[in-house]
Structures are given as structure tokens and as C-alpha cells.
């Protein structure tokens, strides 16, 4: 069963180099103006990369769950949906933690009920509920089907939550529109995109590794059954 996974090794190598580059840029790019927190702003390069992965994981789970129900319940779609949620939980916690570290000096509070913060927190709760649901069902087929249904219902509600909370009030800096915060200078953009790319690769490495663990577990249980029945 010990297969070498060349693609994973290559991906780990590249993502390692990119992460090192992202760290380098993060600490060498000229720091932002005072209103975005001076040196504290450097956490932004990691924050955006992590947030992107957390959102991507959500989208992948949503898509894989639809595929699971629509394409005759193939195990691979279930594996990807499940693996993506697990990565999403880790990255979701990291987005919130890194955001809090920045928010405390700049907003003068750890937390506020801004749409993005609320939406991130709610997505995290949905991820956790998804994992609890999986944990509470023993039959693998039913587990996969229920999880897919919950992923579709849960993640369809996330954009509604976003719009709902946006009608309140937003103070979160927006990268795509001009607000109270100055636009990014070009070296800062380079640093951001290197970090985005690095974290996307990290996500792919983790997803692949997690999926392989699940496949190996499937093989083990199959072998066990064969031994027991022979």
C-alpha cells in the first residue's frame, strides 16, 4: 500500500518555497500608513491568503456535495467534501484569530458584528455542525448523503447571512472598492498575491493528503472484511 505520491511531494516543495517567499515579502514590503495599523498591517498578507482558502474550502464542499447527490453518489465526491470541511475549520479559526490580532489595535476591539466577521463565524459554526452530523451517523452511505444535504442547505444560507449583515453596517476594509482605507501600493499587491498563491497550494496539498488518508482507510476496511469473510 505504500505508494509514493510524486505530485504531493512536488506540491509540498513548491508551496514551501512560496510560503517562504510570502514570509519574506510580508516583512520587507514597505509598511502601510498609520490608519491601517503600521507594522500590524503586515498580518494582512497572511489574513487574506487564509481567508481565501477558508472561502475556497466552503465552495469546494458545496460543489462536491451537489456532485455527490447529482452524479450517483460517488465516494470520491464525499471524500473531497469532507476533507475540504476539515481544512475549512482550521483556516476559519486562523482567519478569525489573525483578524482579531489586527482589529484590536486598529478598531480598538477584538470583535465587531461586521458582515464579513459574522459570515466567517457562521460559516465556521456550519462547518462544525457538518462534522458533528457526520460523527453522529454510523452508516457510511447515509452519512455521506445527509452530509451532502446539510452542506447544500448550510452553505446556501451563507450568502444570505452576508447580505443580511451588510445592511447593518460595515467597517471591514474592502479590497475591491475605495473606502476609508487607502488602496494597496503595487509592492503590497505582489506580497498579497504571492501569499494567496502559496496558501492555495497549501490547501491543495492538505486536501490531497486528507483524501489519500480516507482512501487508505477505505482500503483497510475492505481488506478487513475480506479477511473476516474468508
Amino acid at each position: 500500500m505504500a505508494r509514493r505520491d510524486t505530485l504531493s511531494v512536488v506540491l509540498i516543495g513548491i508551496s514551501g518555497l512560496l510560503l517562504a517567499a510570502a514570509v519574506f515579502f510580508t516583512f520587507t514590503v514597505p509598511t502601510a500608513q498609520r490608519e491601517t495599523g503600521g507594522d500590524v498591517q503586515r498580518i494582512f498578507y497572511f489574513h487574506v491568503g487564509i481567508a481565501w482558502v477558508a472561502g475556497l474550502a466552503l465552495l469546494v464542499t458545496f460543489a462536491a456535495s451537489i456532485l455527490y447527490l447529482a452524479r450517483g453518489e460517488q465516494r470520491q465526491h464525499d471524500i473531497i467534501a469532507h476533507a475540504s470541511v476539515e481544512i475549512g475549520v482550521v483556516f476559519g479559526v486562523m482567519v478569525i484569530a489573525s483578524g482579531m490580532l489586527w482589529a484590536r489595535p486598529v478598531w480598538n476591539t477584538w470583535w465587531t458584528w461586521d458582515p464579513r466577521l459574522t459570515t466567517t463565524a457562521i460559516s465556521l459554526f456550519i462547518y462544525v455542525a457538518y462534522l458533528m452530523l457526520r460523527g453522529a451517523i454510523d452508516d457510511p452511505q447515509r452519512r455521506a448523503r445527509f452530509a451532502a444535504v446539510y452542506a447544500i442547505i448550510g452553505f446556501a444560507s451563507v450568502p444570505v447571512t452576508f447580505f443580511a449583515t451588510r445592511w447593518w453596517n460595515t467597517i471591514h476594509p474592502d479590497l475591491f472598492s475605495q473606502g476609508d482605507f487607502p488602496p494597496l501600493a503595487s509592492p503590497m499587491k505582489v506580497a498579497m498575491f504571492v501569499s494567496l498563491f502559496a496558501f492555495t497550494l497549501v490547501y491543495l496539498v492538505l486536501l490531497r493528503a486528507r483524501a489519500r488518508v480516507e482512501q487508505a482507510a477505505d482500503e483497510v476496511s475492505l481488506l478487513k472484511q475480506n479477511v473476516l469473510s474468508s
Binding site: 447527490l69 457562521i122 459554526f125 456550519i126 462544525v128 455542525a129 458533528m132 452530523l133 453522529a136 451517523i137 454510523d138 447515509r142 448523503r145 445527509f146 451532502a148 444535504v149 446539510y150 447544500i152 442547505i153 448550510g154 446556501a156 444560507s157 444570505v160 447571512t161 447580505f163 443580511a164 449583515t165 445592511w167
Partner: protein, 225 residues
């Protein structure tokens, strides 16, 4: 189409008859709702001048949501405890008709509890809760809640954790509906101009359409076995 609703109605009628004879759900939901209002009255400090008006919309919806989840759990646990759900599953009807029937029944039970809760809150908090827009918000909120709740409660009833799981599955998904319903209730209660909170009514309707539609579509996957 008429046939479809006749079949769904048969399920509603069955639930209503059971309820009229046992009075299990309404008594427990009603007593629970009354107790929550009672506890809220002591948990909140209402010394400030407008304190009651400020907390009232939130109290109303927390009571509805909690009592609703209690009823949803009971409604589906009863089906699975005595194996009557297998009977429903075997019935020669569309799977979504089962869902529509159960959801409609839950909608009726929740509405009945709301009819008790609203005057109770109006009396204890001394606020004019009987406004048309608040009733519209309760109608839309209850539709969404009963729809998504029936799907999730069916799921929860089929797991090892049973009814413990429902709030964990339900609350994050119901959040936008709760938020919008509270906003509409607050706006109507304050007699604020409709433009200030009218869009929340739209959001509530959109929630019902999107999440309710998805619940109807995905319910059949919960029943397959």
C-alpha cells in the same frame, strides 16, 4: 397538482388528529414558551426607560425559535419512535409530498404557539405587538423555519445524537431569518418608516424561497435507504 396537495394534506390531517387526541406538542411547546418568557422577564434588567421595547423583538423570536425546535423534534421523533415513518416511506406518494405535509403540520403547530406567545408578551411587556407587519413577519419567519426545520429535524432524528443535534444544525442556518424577522418586528414596534426596514421583509421572503425550495428538493435524499 390537486392530487399532490390532497396527499400532503392527508399527512397534515393525520398530525392534527394525533395532536388533538394527545395534546403532546402544543402543551409542551406552550408551557415551554411561557416559561421562557417568564425567565426572560427576570433575566433582563428592565429599569431603563425603553428597555422593554428594545429587548421585546429579540425575546419574541428567541421564544419562537426555541419552542419551534422543541416541536420539530417531537414531531419527527414521534414518527421514528413508533416506526410510522417507514409507513409514510412506503406510501405511493411523491417524496416531497411527505415533506410538504410534515412541514405544513409543523407550521400549524408553531403558529398555534405563536398565537399564545404574542398576547402573553404583549401583556407582560406592555407593548402593542398586534400589528399587521409583525404578523406578516411571523408568517414569513414561521414558513422558513418550519421548512428548513422539518428537513433538519428529519436528519437529526436519524442520527445517534437525535434531538440534541437539531439546534446545532438549525441555528447557524436560521440566523439570517431570525435577524430579518427581529428587524421587521423592531421596525413595526417602533412605528419607524417602512423604508427603513421594508427590505428586511424582502430578505425574509427570499430566505423562504431559497432555503424552502432547497429543502423540498433535497428531502428525498434523506428518505432513501
Amino acid at each position: 397538482m390537486r392530487d399532490y396537495f390532497r396527499k400532503a394534506w392527508a399527512i397534515v390531517a393525520k398530525d392534527l388528529t394525533t395532536e388533538v387526541r394527545s395534546k403532546d406538542m402544543l402543551s409542551s411547546m406552550g408551557a415551554f414558551a411561557a416559561l421562557v418568557i417568564f425567565v426572560f422577564a427576570f433575566a433582563f434588567d428592565l429599569r431603563a426607560a425603553r428597555a422593554a421595547a428594545i429587548v421585546a423583538p429579540g425575546v419574541l423570536w428567541v421564544v419562537i425559535v426555541f419552542a419551534g425546535m422543541l416541536g420539530l423534534n417531537r414531531s419527527l421523533a414521534a414518527e421514528f419512535d413508533r416506526g410510522s415513518f417507514d409507513g409514510l416511506r412506503l406510501a405511493p406518494i411523491d417524496r416531497s409530498a411527505i415533506f410538504v405535509g410534515k412541514a405544513l403540520g409543523n407550521f400549524v403547530f408553531m403558529s398555534a404557539v405563536e398565537a399564545i406567545v404574542l398576547p402573553m408578551l404583549a401583556a407582560t411587556l406592555n407593548l402593542p405587538f398586534l400589528k399587521p407587519m409583525i404578523l406578516v413577519a411571523m408568517l414569513l419567519g414561521t414558513i422558513g423555519f418550519a421548512g428548513v426545520g422539518t428537513l433538519l429535524a428529519t436528519m437529526a432524528a436519524n442520527t445517534r445524537l437525535r434531538d440534541v443535534l437539531l439546534p446545532i444544525l438549525m441555528l447557524p442556518v436560521a440566523l439570517p431569518a431570525i435577524l430579518a424577522a427581529v428587524r421587521v418586528t423592531a421596525g413595526a414596534l417602533d412605528d419607524a418608516p417602512f423604508e427603513l426596514w421594508g427590505n428586511w421583509l424582502g430578505l425574509l421572503a427570499a430566505y423562504d424561497l431559497v432555503l424552502g425550495g432547497l429543502a423540498v428538493l433535497t428531502f428525498e435524499y434523506i428518505l432513501e435507504d
